[in-house]
């Protein structure tokens, strides 16, 4: 008699759940000490629906082939001097922002999923978290390899791990992941697995990868394809996590809601860096941040939260504010970097007339009215030899750690300030969203390592700008300041001159 072939699901179950066991030398509660303090109640771990059917043995096989294909492209890019084929030398600054601001967070995600993969009691989510942990490790490695080629020619990339722990704006993504990693395993899964990898990931990866495609950076595009096949697994895991928590116990709903509210807002703040990249940094822009927000948050997120409403979950608090901010955030962020260009590890520039026309077209409600006059003024000042630098250290938001440059909802000419009192101290915030997060967990956020405070406290190498840049390992005159006049620009112009010579 022939034995009936097992279905995919059954085969997968044998290779995952079939390998799990109940501990006997030690009680399970001691083996999994972190899965109850957050208040999440799981009645039945076996009700977890494995969202994909990938066993560890085939995982290695898949990832090995992806690596082979990616490195073949990276090698070809290097051998053909692909760096000379990008649209403009300015584009390298997009990669600097990615490698310094995003890549270290891949590593943080690797560590976080390793923690979740160790401490979730159910074997299904444990296997999935383990794979994602390895994916994230692969992602940072391939990102470093992809971008390392540019490090041979362009400034600002070489010290990225050192900078990550020190530089003022890099503390924004760093504190986001520090917050998630110092939470319990369930909050981590909602923060990174659901809010970041599902709700917001398309606003992070698509802009960088399509930006690369539009600007002739084929090695980064190939990295994007290589990562995307992992990302879909991550997104599926994020969806399964939130469904599982909401279905397991009614008491989980208010906890999950609080996390969705928190991590949506924190993610939105981090993505402000992507917004300015899309609107100001790409020599050949793909689409505006506002358009991307409309497609990936308003439409796709709208469908998502409409479905999740069946569980009683609301859309994230302040999603309406975030949508209204899509008209402003890129302009306000790039203006901050322009003013503090002397302390940034990538180059800045003011948009030229042609680019400002593009911004006017993309932001008919706001650009001409609020932002064009400032750029025109700064361009005029630069022409007169009075390029504007802001030499005062900015006040930072205690939660998102971004300089307090954002404006009041509905009033783009007034800076938004919020504050809370805690144990006799006053803490400052850029928004109601950030204030709410602090107020819910003040003991956590009073410990924030705020770069400006640290400078004032004398912990960053000294009191002068060169002292602080030295502490950052930021090469003054090479890594920082405007693109025009930088060593990057000089090199790029030489390449262009060589091309002309060759053509003749």
């Amino acid at each position: 008699m022939s034995v009936k072939k097992l279905g995919l699901k059954q085969r997968y179950a044998h290779m995952t759940r079939g390998l799990d066991w109940e501990t006997t030398y030690q009680p399970m509660d001691k083996v999994f000490p972190y899965d109850s303090f957050e208040g999440i109640k799981i009645k039945d771990w076996s009700a977890w629906e494995d969202p994909f059917r990938l066993t560890m043995d085939s995982y290695w096989k898949f990832q090995a082939e992806k690596e082979r294909k990616l490195y073949a492209v990276i090698d070809a890019f290097a051998q053909n001097n692909g760096q000379t084929g990008i649209t403009d030398g300015r584009y390298a600054n997009v990669l600097k922002l990615f490698l310094t601001g995003i890549s270290p967070e891949e590593y943080q995600a690797h560590r976080g999923f390793a923690f979740a993969g160790r401490h979730l009691r159910g074997v299904g989510p444990r296997v999935a978290a383990q794979m994602q942990s390895l994916d994230e490790l692969r992602h940072i490695q391939t990102q470093i390899h992809t971008i390392s080629h540019y490090n041979k020619y362009f400034d600002g990339i070489g010290e990225f791990p050192h900078m990550h722990d020190r530089v003022w704006y890099l503390s924004v993504p760093k504190s986001f992941f520090d917050d998630a990693r110092s939470a319990g395993p369930f909050e981590f899964m909602i923060a990174i697995g659901f809010a970041f990898e599902y709700v917001l990931t398309n606003l992070l990866f698509v802009p960088f990868m399509s930006g690369a495609a539009y600007n002739g950076d084929m090695s980064t595009v190939t990295f994007g394809f290589s990562a995307q096949s992992d990302e879909s697994r991550h997104m599926t895991l994020g969806i399964e996590v939130i469904k599982f928590l909401l279905e397991q116990h009614p008491d989980n709903l208010p906890i999950v809601q609080k996390w969705v509210d928190k991590w949506f807002w924190r993610g939105h703040r981090v993505l402000g860096l992507v917004a300015m990249m899309m609107d100001y940094m790409l020599p050949k822009p793909v689409m505006s941040w506002k358009e991307a927000w409309q497609i990936y948050y308003t439409e796709a997120g709208g469908a998502l939260f409409q479905d999740l409403a069946r569980y009683g979950l609301r859309p994230p608090k302040y999603a309406d504010i975030a949508t209204a901010e899509a008209e402003h955030i890129s302009h306000q962020n790039w203006a901050i970097f322009y003013q503090y260009t002397h302390a940034a590890a990538f180059h800045t520039w003011a948009p030229d007339a042609k680019h400002m026309d593009w911004l006017s077209e993309k932001y008919p409600n706001t650009f001409d009215k609020y932002y064009r006059p400032r750029w025109e003024m700064w361009n005029q000042m630069a022409k007169e030899g009075k390029r504007f630098y802001n030499m005062a250290l900015p006040q930072l938001c205690q939660c998102c750690q971004i300089p307090m440059g954002y404006t009041e909802p509905g009033d783009p000419t007034t800076i938004c300030f919020r504050s809370s009192q805690y144990k006799g101290e006053t803490y400052h915030f850029c928004s109601d969203g950030c204030k709410d997060i602090f107020d819910a967990e003040p003991e956590k956020f009073v410990q924030s390592w705020l770069p400006v405070h640290q400078i004032f406290q004398g912990n960053c190498g000294g009191a002068t700008i060169p002292d602080v840049l030295n502490y950052y390992r930021l090469a003054n005159g090479a890594d920082n300041m405007d693109y025009v006049g930088s060593p990057d620009e000089k090199l790029w112009n030489e390449w262009q001159a060589d091309k002309l010579k060759t053509a003749v």
Partner: protein, 354 residues
């Protein structure tokens, strides 16, 4: 246009696929859910094993579909197209309650056209050429003279009455198909149809209490299902809530009340949503989901629910059931996939069937 046959294991179901149509598109349109995400060959969620036949991989990304998988005949359903008849093994679960009944063409003679209400006709067809095999809850595609295409209607009689097909048809204002039935159709006419279709059927193997939530003529499938269950002696509690607007829209209640009197495990609750406040109606008032919530104290855990009716009613019922701790695995709805459903609004991957 060339059409190939796609056989889907382990369902052992065969569907038609047009030249150039992707496997995923064909499956979704035929009501077979395959896991998928990006829809254009980049993510690899819809990986499917081809067991037999000629195919084209389409634009599958080399990072989503590996070379060693291609050699083993793995495709991405969202990009792969057929070059011959093909058999695939898909990541679908076998349904122990679904019987495999081939769809056939039938001709029925109209033996009764009754006014069930002011705008609902009951049509009874006699199958003189032999009985139809179907499962309670399934539907047929009815062809009407002078009307383009076919119209789908649920079978209201139980499978034990296999020599007949009974349909309950509300007049859709301005509708050609239902207009024909209401204005022209008469006893003695013959109509052709194809069936049985659909996977809306009772998962008897699960056991446990059953909850039927019906709106308007959506009660036709639940009628077939309830009659079938009671006839074979299903012993667990069965509740049918039938929502209509006013007393004038209610039909079939004498029969259901008689059944409830005979079967202590069957509860029948007609609910009126727009009945005038001062009428003599002593039964439940309000929408189906609200009446269900009141009846069950808002807790549905442990039951299996079957929903049939207009989309807003189904949506409201799903939310009520879920907030009463009954989730997708235990909720079945009558839903037709059309090209419009697949293409238009962005859909989230939270739910597979609902």
């Amino acid at each position: 246009m060339t059409v190939h046959k796609l056989t889907i294991e382990p369902l052992d179901e065969a569907i038609d696929v047009a030249e150039g149509q992707t496997i995923l598109d064909a499956c979704l349109r035929a009501g077979v859910y395959l896991p998928h995400a990006c829809g254009h060959g980049l993510c690899g969620t819809c990986k499917t094993q081809v067991l037999d036949g000629e195919f084209d991989f389409g634009e599958a990304s080399p990072f989503a579909l590996m070379d060693f998988e291609r050699e083993e005949g793995v495709v991405l359903a969202c990009t792969a197209t057929l070059k011959s008849d093909v058999t695939i093994e898909a990541d679908v679960e076998e349904d122990p309650d679904a019987r495999k009944i081939p769809v056939r063409d039938y001709v029925g003679k109209v033996v009764a056209v009754d006014d069930l209400t002011h705008d609902v006709k009951g049509v009874r067809l006699a199958l003189d050429d032999g009985p139809i095999d179907f499962q309670a809850g399934q539907y047929i595609n009815l062809f009407l003279p002078g009307v383009d295409g076919s119209r789908a209607f649920s079978i209201a009689n139980p499978p034990s009455d296999a020599a007949h097909v009974e349909l309950q048809i509300r007049r859709v204002p301005g509708g050609a198909g239902t207009g024909y039935i209401h204005d022209t159709l008469k006893v003695g006419d013959t109509l052709s149809f194809a069936g049985p279709q659909g996977r809306f059927l009772v998962r008897k193997s699960r056991g446990g209490p059953l909850l039927f939530l019906a709106g308007g003529t959506g009660v036709s499938s639940p009628r077939s299902m309830v009659l079938d269950l009671l006839a074979e002696g299903y012993g667990e509690p069965i509740t049918l809530i039938h929502g209509v607007r006013t007393k004038a829209d209610l039909y079939g209640h004498e029969e259901f009340e008689a059944l409830a009197a005979r079967h202590p495990n069957f509860r029948y609750v007609p609910a009126l949503s727009s009945e005038p406040e001062d009428s003599d109606w002593a039964g439940a008032r309000g929408f189906v989901h609200d009446v269900a919530k009141g009846l069950f104290g808002g807790v549905f855990e442990g039951a299996t629910a079957y929903l049939c009716g207009p989309p807003p009613m189904i949506e409201a019922c799903i939310a009520t059931l879920m907030q009463g701790r009954l989730f997708e695995k235990h909720i079945f709805t009558e839903r037709f996939f059309t090209a419009k459903d697949c293409a238009e609004k962005p859909k989230s991957p939270v739910f597979r069937r609902l």
